[in-house]
Symmetry: C2
Subunit: 156 residues, 2 copies
């Protein structure tokens, strides 16, 4: 069995603070396909990703990783629909149009968090993706992300 | 005329990645009252706050600064309603319950962004705040933040 490569390590030219392998000071999240068309990301917070209290993960960092995980899932899906491996051939870029995050419980900073995402609506130019953040076996945060296709000039 | 002190420099014990003066690796935004009950924050992005393309500001960083600016505005309002200067007497803490961000236009990373926030609904335990992000004289992003009061144990 081969180890899968993260979506982010197949998408070229990515300097994103949340998910860009080229951003040395970024969060560098990694996303993979899981079972039942879910995508999965496991993130290990650093101490400076705290909320006001040092014990909790910051809500903005939470929004950032959920957003990036969903956008990268959309890009992976777009390549899948195009019948090509991620990053091969004509580049396909997506960006966030809207982000809704509901914070149900505080998230501990000293534990890894798991994100699971499901694409609930797929069109070529727009996808809607829902995402759960699980910490300590509980869903602590939910998100809905509207992801829109952007022209190749996005990266020029 | 005295220079006003930012909300964040009056709120004690704040290690938040977005707004905590005690977080050396954080964004350290500063918020002030403006005219007509608006609150204002001017943020200068760093190069590693990029989106995928280096020329744009990351959507997660945008969500983080809008969220923190609104939560700190809620705390400033709570102290105002209690008839006390920010940070004095019994501590009043608020946290984000829900965050909705609509990205209308890409935001240039090489320009300061201005956030303006207005409290549209005020109860003692819950406030709703809307926020605009202005860059290059245009509203590029809008947000609605539901802020809820949290017990003093939040910081224990």
């Amino acid at each position: 069995m081969t180890t899968p490569t993260a979506f982010q390590d197949l998408i070229p030219h990515n300097h994103c603070f949340g998910c860009g392998p080229l951003n040395e000071k970024g969060l560098q999240i990694k996303s993979y396909w899981g079972k039942d068309n879910e995508s999965i990301c496991i993130f290990h917070p650093s101490p400076h990703h705290s909320a006001g209290p040092l014990k909790y993960l910051n809500g903005g960092i939470i929004a950032t990783i959920m957003d990036c995980h969903c956008v990268c899932t959309a890009m992976a899906k777009a390549y899948q629909m195009a019948g090509r491996p991620i990053g091969e051939g004509e580049q396909l870029w997506y960006a966030t149009g809207g982000l809704e995050v509901t914070y149900k419980k505080p998230v501990a900073i000293d534990k890894a968090v798991t994100l699971t995402a499901v694409i609930t609506e797929v069109k070529e130019k727009k996808m809607i993706i829902t995402c759960d953040l699980i910490s300590n076996d509980e869903i602590c945060v939910t998100a809905k992300v509207v992801v829109v296709k952007v022209p190749p000039g996005w990266f020029e």
